[in-house]
């Protein structure tokens, strides 16, 4: 147990330290070299030089850059991401409120993506190079080129405006409202995930079809259905966990777009409104939290992969 899980996880965490520092440094520099003075923005054009100097001091902007960076990093580890200029509340509080819709959307999108892509991949591997397989490859290439906001617009028109099945935006107030309102955005994200998931599933099934265990199972005279289920699909599922984890990472980026198309008040929506109002601390906080989210997902994927595949070990 210790050898297989805890030690590799700890090792993995240690290698994450430089990456985490790098993420902080990049985010910090990004918004410090940005044009536009956050103090002037917060106080308005007519603020006196004195008021500006006081506020600069309050925010620690008069200290040397490296001290500011240290303060920033120490703050992050205390859960302090600074104060939002426009929302009159700590950035961390604003983000915490917006996190649940984003997570819900990611879960829903991934689920729908898997439900759509897996049967297609199984069908397509029935006859490699057959008509359906070839058709799917072209279809997947087509789907891959559709940006998620275009997909979202189509989904809104079809399900929301033409069929009138679902609300086309907003998030509602009750849990039921929330669940109903994330259906269409989740479908958008799910469809957007089909290309990568389909290719991954297909490749995983092909790989396990070629493995010795399948030849062995065939030689044993196992019935086709059983052979498929236990010797092909199941080992393929292990590879797939890895793939899904990696996709979840990039999926986070797509969520940003889709949230804005459907007006879901999640982190992506928060980021866009922070950008429009040039709320520097808020943008900085959201970007950091997004990066943390991706990193945690990658880490969990690694752990799951090790747990599922007896041969695998984390590197």
């Amino acid at each position: 147990m210790f050898q297989r899980f805890i030690l590799p996880t700890l090792k993995r965490l240690v290698t994450l330290i430089p990456v985490a520092l790098g993420v902080c440094l990049l985010t910090f520099l990004l918004l410090h070299v940005a044009p536009g003075d956050p103090v002037r923005l917060a106080l308005g054009d007519k603020a006196s030089a004195e008021a500006i100097a006081t506020r600069r001091h309050e925010w620690g902007l008069d200290k040397p850059l490296w001290v500011q960076f240290l303060d920033f990093v120490v703050g992050i580890f205390h859960g302090d991401l600074g104060d939002s200029i426009t929302l009159n509340e700590p950035t961390a509080t604003a983000i915490a409120q917006r996190l649940p819709p984003t997570l819900l959307l990611m879960a829903g999108g991934t689920l729908i993506g898997i439900v759509l892509a897996l049967p297609l991949a199984i069908l397509s591997t029935k006859k490699i190079g057959g008509f359906f397989d070839e058709f799917m490859r072209v279809f997947v290439a087509l789907l891959q080129g559709i940006p998620s906001f275009v997909l979202g617009t189509f989904v809104i028109i079809l399900f929301g405006l033409q069929l009138k099945w679902m609300p086309v935006g907003g998030y509602g107030t009750t849990l039921m409202d929330h669940l109903v309102s994330i259906v269409l955005p989740s479908i958008t994200i799910g469809i957007g995930l089909i290309p990568v998931l389909f290719r991954g599933f297909r490749q995983a099934i092909l790989d396990s079809l070629e493995s010795d265990s399948v030849a062995f199972g065939k030689a044993k005279g196992l019935p086709d259905g059983l052979l498929k289920r236990d010797y092909v699909i199941r080992p393929a599922a292990v590879d797939t966990v890895n793939l899904i984890g990696l996709q979840l990472g990039s999926l986070v980026g797509g969520v940003v777009i889709v949230e804005n198309v459907f007006a879901i008040p999640g982190m992506g929506n928060l980021m866009m409104s922070a950008i429009l109002s040039r709320d520097f601390p808020l943008v900085q906080g959201v970007v950091i939290v997004f990066a943390a989210l991706v990193t945690v997902i990658y880490l969990l994927t690694d752990i799951c992969y090790t747990a599922l595949d007896p041969r695998g070990s984390m590197s």
């Binding site: 430089p18 990456v19 790098g22 993420v23 990049l26 990004l30 918004l31 070299v33 940005a34 044009p35 006859k127 490699i128 190079g129 070839e134 490859r137 072209v138 997947v140 290439a141 087509l142 891959q144 080129g145 559709i146 940006p147 998620s148 906001f149 275009v150 617009t153 189509f154 028109i157 405006l161 490749q203 790989d207 079809l209 070629e210 010795d212 399948v214 030849a215 990472g249 990039s250 986070v252 980026g253 797509g254 940003v256 777009i257 804005n260 980021m271 866009m272 950008i275 943008v283 959201v286 970007v287 997004f290 990066a291 989210l293 991706v294 990193t295």
Partner: protein
Amino acid sequence: MTGKQVKPKEYDPARIRMFSGCALLLVTLLVCFIVPILIHADPYAQDVANGLRSPYAEHIMGTDALGRDIFARLLYGGQTDLIVAMVAVIAPLILGTFLGASGGYYGGWLDTLIMRIADVISAFPFYVLAIALVFVIGNGMGSVFTAIAIVSWVPYCRLVRAEASRIKNLDFISAAKMGNLSDLRIIINHVMPNVMHQALTYAVTDASANIGVIVTLSYFGMGLVPPQPDWGQMLSEGQQYFANGDYYLIFFPALAIIIASFAFSLIGEGLNVDKETR
């Protein structure tokens, strides 16, 4: 291979995909660049009295709120989007290939440093970093190029590094070292040409992704900004009117985006076929 053998075919579907992708791209480019000259289309001419008219003889794709011809704006928007998408591939391709080749060739601390930087970049969700960068640099074509360069060199670097560390001990590299060539010259003249092929293949797929980035940014009012016509921005303008069922305003730009990225990803799909087993 013990499983089912792929049926030998007189034609190769991967090739067909690649050539149809090329043909589609060529047609799109030709339409965007030649047709405006032939029909003297003006994407800026306003005619508010004839605003928001669905397609009719004079304006075959209708007009937008200011009475501008959607067809003309689509063609000029395509010129911008396609050129930006293709040019934006160059910087990350060169940067990623060079860094990957150097890392793979030298190994050691330089390699570790480069790969850690790559890890940092890929810790950010793609669109989050791209949007933040354009926010910081400001709008305009230059900032789109810069943002794409900073965000998308990583996959090139990873692809090339693996290849470079494989070939660095081969004879022709040793021969180059013996010939007393400088490291920089070895990397550029001897390592890079031999590890470029995968990166070049990836570049085609990347161009397709770039179209997505460019139109997504401009859809949110970032990057390419008015009055420069652009597909993403046309879509976001059109969206204000679709509650009344005026779908033509978004249908044509959406179709254009899909056709253009489909062309690139078809080519990529066709080129990629033998690289499937990672």
